[in-house]
Symmetry: C2
Subunit: 297 residues, 2 copies
């Protein structure tokens, strides 16, 4: 059992709770007052992210950057992306790069180099497994040698996710169960002291039954859980994907970033974000305790 | 029937043949003599790409940039990526951005903005459909309003592609057939004068039986065909995915880019690439004629 980054994430959750702040920063999210101080989009986005990070880091498990929002702003956006990653990593905070890449081996090696080293280095990345397990394998040496982690898509939170993922395979289970078990097997070599593997899975909380089934069948897979809040997932749904309040991190982007828009007289946007992160953490903690009481009762 | 970019690609194939040059440019591919002229990686890569483009554009259908190779070089790589796209589009040459993105609707809109407009604008992009059809739909308005095109992954060329794609769905066909038919249906509104849709599919030529089946079942889907050459696919395999020598473009990257390494005394690397592109074009043309003769005989 080697040193695994998943153990570090596990510890963060033990200490700070399950919230993952999604820094899916759109320019329209930045309060006018802050935006007007900057000439470059790049600087405005980085400063916005920095303030959200500083205001929340001690009440959340980790951060997630959705790269699409940065790619949409071209080179400036990607510079802000790179700077935000560096800011997080310099402070020993954990960051997931939500890139959902997936390609053949030679190309996968390039993506691994791109997102596990250099200017876009992050701690965890998300991957799309549609091309098969040989499109995941080229990333695995980084789990062992560079202390990196992966979350592979298994059952996503969107309503169309059933188109492929819910199809029932002849003589087997649904596609998502099949994919989940292939990932779980591939991750056996990267299980840390926490009992979880640094090769984890993405399981949305918006599909209750599927999430429950996966939580049962995937013993050593850590969950990255999207779908809470803006996408309709509730704390009670999230609780089904956790084990004793750990075993997963729960992403929220817009609800945390735009919390200030819900307050009539907010003073600092980042204080509103912090309040929402704490509210979410406690909301999920309550649901976990209620579920445990029910299961014991 | 509106103006569709797929018709432009169809015409290019009628005129220049089916070859798609894969500009998956790794620094190690650049001859030392050229590399040593540049201080910046960015300039070296762009100059290499430019020379390959200038040497091949009249004997090929289009170009494909595998973004992973550029992401792996950080900001410099992405600047070279952006410059290469612009160089191609300024010359009215067609380019496919091989990005294989796939995400929920709000994020998909960001990827569409990123790769169909601005600094990373291309003519076609590749998409991964694992998350379902609502992860493809946000790109479709660009097909109509901005004359753009898509190739969605259906059956990929790698050996592990069967892990998910070949699973047989209860009461239905294989996953790849199911995905292919969903994409074909979604593409019905974007069929051009050529009879093909600007929403096409990726079908590797390394899996003969699957490619044959898909060519039969997908009447209006244009094929982007990887797997020829370095990955083991032969002209005879490719011919099965075409119709009268059209209906698809066939990618080759390393075999065209590194053609100069096969020649003992090459003069210009780009001349070697041109020769290989012509050889490949004619190799496939021959196989198409042989297959037609066989089918008629």
């Amino acid at each position: 059992m080697s040193n695994q980054i998943i153990d570090k994430l596990y510890e963060k959750v033990e200490k700070n709770g399950v919230v993952c702040v999604g820094l899916d920063t759109d320019i329209s999210y930045i309060p006018q007052e802050l935006l007007s101080k900057f000439v470059n989009i790049e600087d405005a986005i980085f400063e916005y992210n920095r303030r959200i990070i500083d205001a929340t880091y001690d009440v959340v498990a980790c951060f997630k950057l959705q790269i699409a929002y940065y790619e949409a702003l071209g080179m400036s956006g990607l510079r802000a992306y790179s700077k935000t990653l560096k800011y997080l990593r310099d402070r020993d905070l954990l960051v997931i790069a939500d890139i959902k890449r997936g390609d053949i081996a030679a190309t996968a090696k390039m993506y691994a180099k791109a997102h596990f080293t250099g200017e876009f280095e992050s701690d965890f990345i998300t991957l799309n497994p549609y091309m098969g397990m040989d499109s995941i394998e080229p990333y695995l040496p980084y789990l062992e040698k560079h202390n990196k982690g992966i979350f592979a898509l298994v059952k996503t939170s969107n309503s169309g996710s059933g188109d492929i993922q819910d199809c029932i395979i002849e003589g087997k289970d649904e596609v998502y169960e099949h994919v989940g078990s292939m990932i779980e097997n591939l991750g056996k070599d990267y299980i840390g002291a926490s009992g979880y593997s640094s090769l984890g899975v993405v399981v949305g909380c918006t599909h209750r039954e599927q999430a429950k089934k996966l939580r049962k069948s995937l013993a050593s897979s850590y969950f990255l859980i999207p779908g809470y809040g803006a996408q309709g997932g509730k704390a009670e749904d999230v609780a089904l994907s956790l084990r004793s309040g750990n075993g997963g991190v729960v992403n929220s982007s817009r609800k945390i970033l735009l919390a200030y828009k819900e307050e009539e007289n907010f003073i600092n946007f980042e204080d509103s974000s912090r309040k929402e992160a704490i509210r979410m953490r406690d909301d999920i903690k309550r649901a976990v305790l209620e579920l445990e009481a029910k299961n014991e009762g």
